[in-house]
Symmetry: C2
């Protein structure tokens, strides 16, 4: 009954409705989460409510790379030790976190906050691309390579191709992360498309 009532009257329905607007959270999960909040200790509930406001108040997007930042520029864009001649284009801040964990990349990033997905209504204007071009002629140090590290699926590949075309007139090399059988994975269980790419992208030993 509660979930069917007017959301303005019923706090549970209201919270459920708001949670269901988060990505990957359906109506049922939202209700489950809202009920977990109801059952939580008052201290936890207060902390959660405050933490939500804090991310809005204390986090912003870096003016250069669109990554999460606590100042006008993010930690990496401020870090003089990083290689400013390489920019790695990624879809989400999570992707930067994953790449940083490898320790294999010392360049800068550019976060698109999405990938091209015409079926979901995401076109180039929905991506944070506007501030990419100025970075490529603007800086003190010339950019020598742009690595597109969007996921190797239809949307990620389309986004990579779009960026390669966009940057073609600048004559800056644009590369794409390799696809293939995951390290530690079994060839036998790799899907056909992955195996196809693994063959195409083969490299000399």
């Amino acid at each position: 009954m509660a979930a069917d009532k007017d959301a303005r009257l019923d706090p549970l329905a209201r919270l459920t409705g708001l949670l269901a607007r988060l990505p990957g959270i359906g109506e049922k999960s939202a209700l489950r989460l809202a009920l977990a909040v109801v059952r939580s200790e008052g201290e936890y509930v207060e902390a959660l409510s405050e933490a939500i406001l804090a991310v809005r108040d204390e986090l912003r997007l870096c003016e250069l790379c669109n990554d999460l930042a606590s100042a006008t520029r993010c930690e990496r864009c401020q870090d003089a030790r990083r290689d400013r001649s390489t920019i790695c284009v990624i879809a989400q801040p999570q992707d930067r976190m994953a790449l940083e964990r490898t320790g294999a990349y010392r360049g800068l990033y550019h976060v698109l906050h999405g990938v091209l997905d015409p079926l979901a209504g995401v076109g180039p204007s929905q991506l944070r691309l506007a501030n990419l071009l100025p970075r490529l002629h603007g800086g003190d140090e010339p950019v020598r390579e742009v690595i597109v590290a969007t996921s190797p699926n239809v949307e990620g590949d389309a986004t990579a191709l779009y960026i390669a075309k966009l940057l073609a007139p600048l004559e800056i090399p644009v590369s794409r992360i390799a696809s293939g059988v995951a390290v530690g994975g079994e060839l036998e269980y790799a899907d056909m498309t992955t195996l196809h790419r693994a063959l195409e992208d083969r490299r000399r030993l």
Copy 2:
């Protein structure tokens, strides 16, 4: 990087940590949700933060049946038109919502807020059972049947058996919802245990 830092310093890590304490939300989902909050409009963020406090401030558990209530007693326990001679024992408020949608039940409920699960450390004292017994001798109208509608899995079945034993001295009939092949389901695809129960619980036509 952000998620690895001290939670007190980093609002994103703090929100991620709090969200990961909700049931069914792992570290990765929590981070994804926290980033969605970062990207949301300020208005949404404020509404979410307030809605979380509101469920704590405006909802409580019904003193009779432990269901969600905006007053000392829930809507159903207050409703004079409901059949007070039947009590349906359920694990969660969601189960009451599902049963109410069928329109097939007009009795009262008793919400346990969990099921027996020794491996997860949930024993009888963690369930809201204490106020069930007083309902069975206390009321103006005698209770004629207790229906245990916990889910038909190991934990739900154990809980049902426990309640049946607990109520045995009172000589009130305790019943269990039927298990079997789902309506509209295919016999061919039903799992062995379900089919076994469907045979056992067969009824005369």
